[in-house]
Chain length 154, copies 2
Amino acid sequence: MRGPNDHRRVQMERMQNKSNLQVTFSKRRDGVFEKATELSTLCGADVFVVDFSPRNKQYSFRNPSVESIMNRFLEINPPTNTDVANPVIIAHQNANIDEINVNLNRLEISLEKGKNMDKHFTHQGKNLQLKLVPLTLKNCARSWKLQMKKFKEY
Amino acid sequence: MRGPNDHRRVQMERMQNKSNLQVTFSKRRDGVFEKATELSTLCGADVFVVDFSPRNKQYSFRNPSVESIMNRFLEINPPTNTDVANPVIIAHQNANIDEINVNLNRLEISLEKGKNMDKHFTHQGKNLQLKLVPLTLKNCARSWKLQMKKFKEY
DNA sequence: TACTCTATGTATAACCG
DNA sequence: TCGGTTATACATAGAGT
């Protein structure tokens, strides 16, 4: 039933045999999910596992929910951010970012010319600066975390 | 060395003994991470695991990086969203959401009065509606995904 | 509280159909 | 490429220190 070199101790390196790799991936993926399930059940822990196969297919396990766990994760691990110097993030689903930035710039110029900016567009004594930044997860998470922090202050 | 009832087969239910639970959590957490590491090494798979202990401490394993994996995850699993009716999300780290909404409303009224809105604040023939929505991860992820989609079109 | 030990249960690599 | 088998390696619960 088994060959002479079946020592069943695998080297911890990327498997070369493609078909073996696929089989191993499936089995070990199931194994990781099973362990995660047991950890969750036995210890009442929130667990989230996601992995991507060599063929780029995605598998995930979650308890209780992705959003709940990601919120907790991002709360504890705020993404470091050197890209967002401005306090405002605007995203528009139908617009090119540069194009909106130009529009905002025009809007601010228009407001300045009309002397309306100080009156209508300030907050806590500071001008509300508008600037589009790429809506990356990192940028969102940062703002999201700040919102969370603010929420907790109430 | 061992007691008479040491059958070592654990029931799959929440452990009642608190100190045993803590020990089991540590051991099994290490186990899950070790399995995740092996899966990543053997199969070249991207893996992300995060869990929260009964004491609310967070542990995570990631390969290659959280952002990379979360971007892939959210790309494949766009959050369903019924909360964002408006195409614009604005977040401001120092402002109360309702307060900014009021300011934006005033701004838009001001623009309408000045007849500047059509000229400066449109995109592709449609008025650019501004409205604050809560900056939840879900809302961000949705907009982020739409940006990604747009990016791919280029 | 935190290690160490170890008997036992579990996961799985290679093999087979 | 799949699902099933089995020998072996690995994980781990409970006990001891």
